[in-house]
């Protein structure tokens, strides 16, 4: 058997890379630090995914099963890569569970970390139980319990979704757009309106970035079919009047201060670089770009390259990324690694 390709991270990108390699007869070792495969969509309990509307447990769960049942994929869960050395075609890695892997190449699919809303204390997360994150609402929906106020379990009559929480904010060192939150929020607003038709949903935004084909499917549809209301305002603070949350800010389009009562406030949290990225960078001897994501070695010629030959990257490890694009990048990285190993076959 060939030397395996080491895939670090068992989320959408890693699962796609492992599957793609197995399809062409290349074996791989998937190292996942958690006790389960699936990455953020499974571990964080996402509900229905953009753009297909399939449940995460079906769509990503299917990818997990496919990899789990493949004899060409060796899955190591609850394990991290502790050391990594060697040359393209002859790397050796030692894992935290004591195993060692001789690998021909490595693909980093180490993903991202959800922004922790506690870092924006003025928006009330951690202070008021009815201030929640998009991840929590995803879990309310995917668990089948429905969208309820955590404080007393009541059905909210009015929900505010605050965009750009942990994104586009120099105050907290997050200068990037997390790319997916606008679309996720529009999708979530529609899901809330579908479950609770009497509940009004307001989205407070700085810009709406439901790019590409998401424009009509999410932004327009949420307005036209679900009457979700979009208000251009950066919220100053979330407080409470003892009964309801009170959202304060300026409605920039009418130049008026607002203090509006809400039952529930949802933070559309952004994507931080994986908290382990500095360790990962030193272990694998690769560069990070200035925001802290894995730096790509090549913008056009081979987008899966990192700064080190033989170490490739895919998915949200190199910046905020959608699930479907992470999967595509997983495929691309698999092909890039394969091309490095078998140049002769590629020419033949």
């Amino acid at each position: 058997m060939n030397k395996p390709i080491l895939i670090v991270g068992g989320g959408p990108a890693g699962l796609a890379a492992a599957h793609a390699l197995a399809r062409v007869g290349q074996n791989s070792v998937v190292v996942e630090k958690e006790d389960r495969l699936g990455g953020a969509p499974i571990l964080s309990g996402y509900a229905k995914l953009v753009p297909s509307g399939e449940w995460a447990r079906d769509a990503i769960g299917g990818m997990v099963d496919r990899v789990r049942n493949d004899p060409l994929v060796d899955v190591q869960t609850s394990a991290r890569v502790e050391s990594f050395a060697g040359q393209p075609g002859a790397f050796s890695a030692r894992l935290s569970n004591g195993a060692s892997v001789d690998a021909a190449a490595a693909i980093l699919c180490t993903g991202f970390t959800h922004f922790d809303s506690v870092n924006k204390p003025e928006w009330g997360f951690g202070t008021f139980p009815d201030v929640v994150t998009t991840t929590q609402v995803e879990q309310m929906i995917s668990s089948g319990k429905g969208v309820r106020c955590p404080s007393d379990g009541r059905k909210p009559k009015r929900v505010a979704i605050l965009l750009c929480v942990g994104s586009r904010d120099r105050q907290i060192g997050r200068e990037w757009c997390s790319k997916i939150c606008c679309t996720v929020s529009a999708n979530m607003a529609m899901e809330i309106r579908e479950e609770l038709p009497d509940c009004h949903v307001y989205i407070y935004y700085m810009d709406i970035r439901t790019y590409g084909l998401y424009e009509t499917r999410y932004y327009w549809r949420s307005q036209e079919e679900f009457k979700v209301k979009y208000i251009k305002a950066r919220i100053a603070e979330v407080t409470s009047n003892g009964e309801q949350l009170v959202v304060k800010g300026e409605d920039t389009l009418v130049k008026r201060p607002i203090t509006i009562p809400f039952d529930m406030v949802v933070h559309a949290i952004g994507m931080d670089p994986n908290v382990d990225n500095k360790t990962i960078a030193s272990t694998f001897g690769i560069d990070l770009e200035r925001h802290g994501y894995v730096a790509r070695g090549n913008a056009y010629g081979n987008t899966a390259e990192t700064s080190r030959a033989g170490v490739f990257v895919a998915g949200a490890a190199c910046g905020p990324e959608t699930i479907d694009d992470s999967i595509a990048q997983g495929h691309a990285a698999a092909l890039a690694a394969l091309g490095l190993l078998q140049p002769a076959r590629a020419r033949a």
Binding site: R158, H200, Y202, I208, Y219, W220, Q223, E224, K227, K229, Y230, I231, K232, D251, L253, V254, K255, R256, P257, I258, T259, I260, P261
Partner: protein
């Protein structure tokens, strides 16, 4: 006035006390000028649905505030205070008090429909302006304009008889708008008509004034039109919650028995 040029302090938000003594110090007059808060403390969530229920307002919820309507607006070019984008926003968000501030200029829309063709989202701003004017009227925020009264008098006669008789239209219009028929220009017009019109035509006019002309076989059409008008009016009043308001007012006002209330 464009939003960004509006003063943050509005004259109506300034209050001054003629007589005010604080801690034994007389601060009457301009010493006691206060600025009331401009803070919006709640949204009227019914507003968007009410406008959407009126003809023309159906697509109001689509607006994303690009300003194409205001940029293309004929009236805005003359009166910068006329800002359809702003009002559409207020409707969507339900800032009713803000809309009422502009109730005297909203009706200035000339229905040129340039906005209809400029709008990238098919909001049909011209229709929204129409619906908004109608809403202001139905809710009793504005008095009917003379031209609106004229339209009423005119269409009532058409609905009733299938045609109009000018003299009768004039009479009723003057009566409903509280104007005297004793207008110098009207008297002069009548005098000249008597002097110059052929006798045959004068006779016809006189007869028409005495016996209202009607289209033969009109009763079927009249019934159909009245039914339709009634239906439409009912629909609008229900959408705006006006029937409930009227019922509530009746209950408050007079001794209506429980039985009658249940039947209505």
């Amino acid at each position: 006035m464009p939003i960004h040029e509006q003063s943050l302090i509005r004259p109506e938000n300034l209050t001054t006390h003629d007589q005010l003594v604080v801690d034994g110090v007389d601060v009457s007059g301009h010493w006691s000028t206060f600025i009331q808060s401009r803070v919006v403390t709640d949204y009227n969530e019914a507003m968007q649905d009410e406008i959407a229920a009126l003809p023309g307002g159906e697509n109001v919820h689509r607006c994303w505030q690009c300003g194409s309507c205001t940029n293309s607006c004929t009236v805005n070019a003359i009166n910068p205070e006329f800002n359809p984008r702003h009002w559409i926003y207020l409707v969507r968000i339900g800032m009713e008090s803000e809309i009422l501030r502009d109730k005297d200029i909203i009706w200035q829309c000339v229905s040129c429909n340039k906005c209809t063709y400029a709008c990238p989202r098919d909001v049909v701003p011209e229709g929204v302006m129409k619906a908004l004017s109608h809403w202001l009227e139905l809710k009793g925020h504005v008095k009917p304009s003379p031209s609106m009264v004229f339209d009423e008098v005119f269409s009532e006669q058409v609905f009733q008889h299938g045609k109009i008789e000018e003299g009768r239209v004039m009479q009723r219009f003057f009566k409903r708008t509280g104007q005297s028929l004793n207008q110098p220009w009207l008297i002069e017009m009548m005098r000249r008509m008597l002097r110059h019109l052929p006798v045959g035509m004068l006779t016809k006019l006189g007869l028409a004034t005495l016996v209202a002309p009607r289209t033969s076989g009109w009763s079927g059409a009249r019934a159909a039109i009245e039914e339709y008008v009634h239906e439409q009016e009912h629909k609008r009043r229900r959408a705006l919650g006006l029937d409930a308001l009227i019922e509530a007012a009746k209950r408050d006002a007079g001794p209506v028995t429980a039985g009658e209330g249940a039947r209505s």
